[in-house]
Each structure stands twice: as structure tokens, then as C-alpha cells.
């Protein structure tokens, strides 16, 4: 997680304070292996986007490129580029997701893996009902909740944010990454 800590700094207003449900699924190395198992080397190739590039991405993807720096790795096999491994964050109203996307050199998605999923139930009404329904459970350490009730049925969370993020990364690839 340390490697991409700067990306986790997001406008405070987007974060809601409250009990949260957070799970870490994969580290960067694990996600790299999961998406590009055939790669023998991952070379860090972080991208610094110019103002023009960010505008171009927003124009073509319809999604704002919020940060200048995007953490990108070249996935290589025998010295040849076999794809791009990109770590990205999406922030929803109630969820904060770090995911990895693998993009093939020809601009296709190889795979998407959620690395960290954090869900917040921040506003007061939600917090109140949360407290009520979980009476007797300690909320001192909200992350403990994950251990208590890891499996949540019910109203389905949309994955649209992540799908839009992947769309943005495909445009970023065209705008800022070399063909080989």
C-alpha cells in the first residue's frame, strides 16, 4: 500500500466519516500476478499528465482525470511489452475503491481486480440506523466490523464507477502511453 499512498489523498469533502467496511484483497504484486501471470517483470513507469492530456482524457472518456500522476507499470515478458498494469482509485458517494486494470498494448482490457474496497455509511441518518441495528457491537474500531459481518446481502452496489474508471484508463493509454 505504501507505494501508492499519494494517490490516496483525495479531497476531504468526498470522504464521509462514519463506520466503514473495508477489505484489502490484493497487494500491488499480487494484483500484477493475477492479471498478468505470464509476465516475468514489471517495470514502474508512472505517468505525469499535462493539463492538456488531462483535458483530452476528460473529453474523450467523459470522466474527469482528477490527478496528474497515474501509477503505471510495464508488464514484460522476455523484455517485450505484453501490457500495462495501472492502479487507479474511484471515489463514490459511499465507496472508495482501489483497483488494478491490465490493458493490452492494442488497447483492450485484459483484466480488472479490486485491490481495496472501502464502504462508508457516513451521513447521520445512515449512521443512526447503523448504530441501532448493530446495537451491542463495538464501533470503536469500525474496521473490526468487517470481521463480524463480512457478507452483506441486500441492496446491490453499482460497479459503474469502476467501469467508468477503466474507460478513462483506456483513453489515458492512448493519450499518454507508448505503443511498445
Amino acid at each position: 500500500m505504501r507505494d501508492f499512498a499519494p494517490l490516496l489523498i483525495i479531497p476531504a469533502a468526498a470522504l464521509v466519516v462514519g463506520p466503514a467496511h473495508a477489505t484489502e484483497y490484493l497487494s500491488i504484486e499480487q494484483a500484477q500476478k493475477a492479471i498478468f501471470p505470464e509476465a516475468d517483470r514489471f517495470v514502474a513507469a508512472p505517468v505525469l499528465l499535462s493539463e492538456e492530456q488531462r483535458e483530452a482524457i476528460e473529453d474523450r472518456a467523459g470522466v474527469k482525470q482528477r490527478w496528474e500522476k497515474q501509477d503505471v507499470w510495464r508488464a514484460e515478458k522476455n523484455g517485450q511489452l505484453i501490457g500495462w498494469f495501472i492502479v487507479d482509485n474511484v471515489v463514490g458517494k459511499h465507496e472508495f475503491i482501489t483497483y488494478a486494470a491490465g490493458l493490452l498494448p492494442e488497447g483492450k482490457v485484459k483484466g480488472v481486480e479490486v485491490m481495496v474496497f472501502k464502504e462508508t455509511h457516513g451521513d447521520e441518518i445512515r449512521e443512526a440506523s447503523w448504530r441501532k441495528t448493530l446495537e451491542g457491537k463495538t464501533l470503536a474500531d469500525p474496521f473490526k466490523l468487517d470481521k463480524d459481518v463480512p457478507n452483506i446481502s441486500g441492496a446491490t452496489l453499482s460497479c459503474r464507477n469502476v467501469m467508468n474508471g477503466v474507460k478513462r484508463l483506456l483513453v489515458l493509454q492512448q493519450v499518454a502511453l507508448p505503443a511498445r
Binding site: 477489505t23 484483497y25 490484493l26 493475477a34 463514490g92 458517494k93 459511499h94 483497483y99 480488472v112 481486480e113 479490486v114 474496497f117 455509511h121 441518518i125 445512515r126 440506523s129 447503523w130 441501532k132 441495528t133 448493530l134 457491537k137 463480524d148 459481518v149 463480512p150 457478507n151 452483506i152 446481502s153 441486500g154 441492496a155 446491490t156 452496489l157 453499482s158 460497479c159 459503474r160 469502476v162 467501469m163
Partner: protein, 287 residues
């Protein structure tokens, strides 16, 4: 001492699908990969959004001529018809036209958006499907559960004998371990339901606000057209119904029956269709 669960999550089926596999790492990794592929396949075959999916080909052409489909699509249609018939239409997979008209689903140039009714579906030999009239099918209310079942079968086939597949609330537990389950109500509240094992569960919420509908894309269309905040009974509407069944497709489909059944018949109807209605607080013990 059981192996720790390996957990993965991917964006699929319009939501986040989480798989826990409690098995040695090599088995778990290959099993999880196969399980995600199985879900992906169901998604591709039964997608309403993809004009080339089995479902779209049925909706566009099967009213004119029989359409050949994949075995799993055929099986889902068979199951869907069975639940529709036995629930007297409370579970209805022919409301696609209405959802297209409301702008919730894309219009691929359908012949007719007004026709509904499960009896229009004919399942022919050799995996062919015909529609007696141009109804528009949507398998949203059952295919997600079916995809969860397919993922569990894939895990079992790869030697993973204990775990969880959770497709944004349609979940199935397999193996001997009791697993604690909570339900997210449409209000955002989380209620603990208790611990369960070897079962499937699904929850459907009705009476969502527009904002919540955007966040929670599952929606239930009622026969009377009662839906969401516009419904005069909105505030009286129960917020979520949870159904337990042996398989996830059944739990998924029966939540629609639960949401739409009259209060006094709800439990009995669900039981008759092979499920069990779970009420928070009433059932908070190990099953």
C-alpha cells in the same frame, strides 16, 4: 485447522462480485479464476445491454423464428418460466418492454414494448426458443443468482469445497463453516441476520428513492406499476426482503415474489416455491 480464505473481488454483473475460497492457495486461485469465468459467461449470454447476447437475440428475433441459445440460457429460461407460472406472475421476466420505455434498459429496436406474459415463451427441442408474440424478456431477476450458482459449481469442480460467492447481495455459502450474514437495507442500514451455512440468500429492496436507485441498480417492477418514491404506499413499503433457498437462482427469483406478495401470503408463497423468508431479528441464530 482450515486454510485461511483467499478473497477476490471483480466488477461483474453490474455490481461487485466477491469470492472467498477456503482451500490451499493453488486450488483456491485456479478455482476462483474458473468461477469468475463462469460468471462472465453467464453475463455475456444473458446481458440485456449486449445486442448479440442470447437474450437479445431472443428479444429481437424469437417472435418471428426459433432462436438457438446456449444450454445455460435455456436452463435459466426454463427456471424463470417455472417460477413465473408457480408464482402466478408475481415473478415476471417479461417486463423488459416496460423497462425500456422507462429508459432503464436500452432499446435495440424491439418490435413491441407493450406485450408481456410468461406464457408467450416456448422452449423447443434442441435448445431453441420461440416467442408466441413479441414480448421483451429480461433475466435480471434470476440470472445473477444463476451466475452465483455457476461460480459455486466451478469452485467445487476445482476442488474448493468451502467458500462464499457474493454478487452484490446474491450470495451462496458452501461447505461446513458457519458464515455471519448481514443485510443492507435500502436505507443504508446494516442488520445482522445470524450465521448460516450451505445455503443461498438474496435480498431485494423495494421503494427506493431515485438517488438510491442510481446507487442500487436492481429494481423491482410491480404489476400495478408501483415503483419507488412515486408509489402511494412508499412509506409503508417494507424496505427489503431476504429469502433463503438451496440455490442462488431460486433465492434471487423469490425475492421478487416476496417483494410483491400480499403481506398475509408472503411466507406461505415463498415456502411453496421452495424458499424461506428471513426476517431480521427473528432469525438471528445459527442455521
Amino acid at each position: 485447522m482450515p486454510a485461511p480464505a483467499i478473497r477476490r473481488m471483480r466488477p461483474l454483473l453490474g455490481t461487485f462480485v466477491e469470492i472467498h475460497a477456503r482451500a490451499p492457495a493453488v486450488l483456491a486461485e485456479t478455482g476462483i479464476e474458473a468461477a469468475f469465468s463462469a460468471i462472465d459467461e453467464v453475463q455475456r449470454q444473458m446481458s440485456f445491454f449486449d445486442p448479440d447476447s442470447d437474450l437479445s437475440r431472443i428479444n429481437l428475433h424469437a417472435w418471428r423464428k426459433p432462436v438457438a441459445v446456449n444450454p445455460s440460457t435455456f436452463r435459466v429460461l426454463l427456471l424463470a418460466r417455472h417460477v413465473a407460472r408457480d408464482s402466478q406472475g408475481l415473478f415476471d421476466f417479461t417486463v423488459g418492454g416496460r423497462l425500456v420505455r422507462d429508459g432503464r434498459l436500452p432499446d435495440h429496436g424491439f418490435h413491441d414494448l407493450d406485450s408481456e406474459g410468461w406464457e408467450a415463451l416456448e422452449l423447443l427441442p434442441r435448445l431453441r426458443v420461440r416467442l408466441k408474440r413479441p414480448v421483451v424478456l429480461t433475466l435480471d431477476g434470476i440470472a445473477k443468482g444463476f451466475a452465483v450458482d455457476a461460480a459455486v459449481h466451478a469452485l467445487l469442480a476445482h476442488g474448493v469445497t468451502r467458500g462464499v460467492v457474493n454478487a452484490g447481495g446474491d450470495l451462496r455459502l458452501f461447505g461446513p463453516d458457519p458464515v455471519p450474514i448481514a443485510v443492507r437495507e435500502a436505507s443504508g442500514a446494516i442488520s445482522a441476520l445470524g450465521s448460516f451455512r450451505n445455503t443461498a440468500m438474496a435480498t431485494s429492496a423495494v421503494g427506493l428513492s431515485l438517488e438510491d436507485q442510481a446507487r442500487f441498480p436492481s429494481c423491482i417492477v410491480t404489476p400495478a406499476g408501483c415503483d419507488g418514491a412515486a408509489c402511494p404506499h412508499f412509506n409503508a413499503c417494507p424496505r427489503a426482503w431476504t429469502v433463503m433457498a438451496g440455490e442462488a437462482w431460486r433465492a434471487d427469483a423469490l425475492t421478487k415474489v416476496a417483494a410483491l406478495a400480499p403481506d398475509h401470503e408472503r411466507g406461505a408463497r415463498i415456502a411453496k416455491l421452495g424458499g424461506r423468508l428471513i426476517v431480521a431479528g427473528e432469525d438471528g441464530r445459527e442455521h
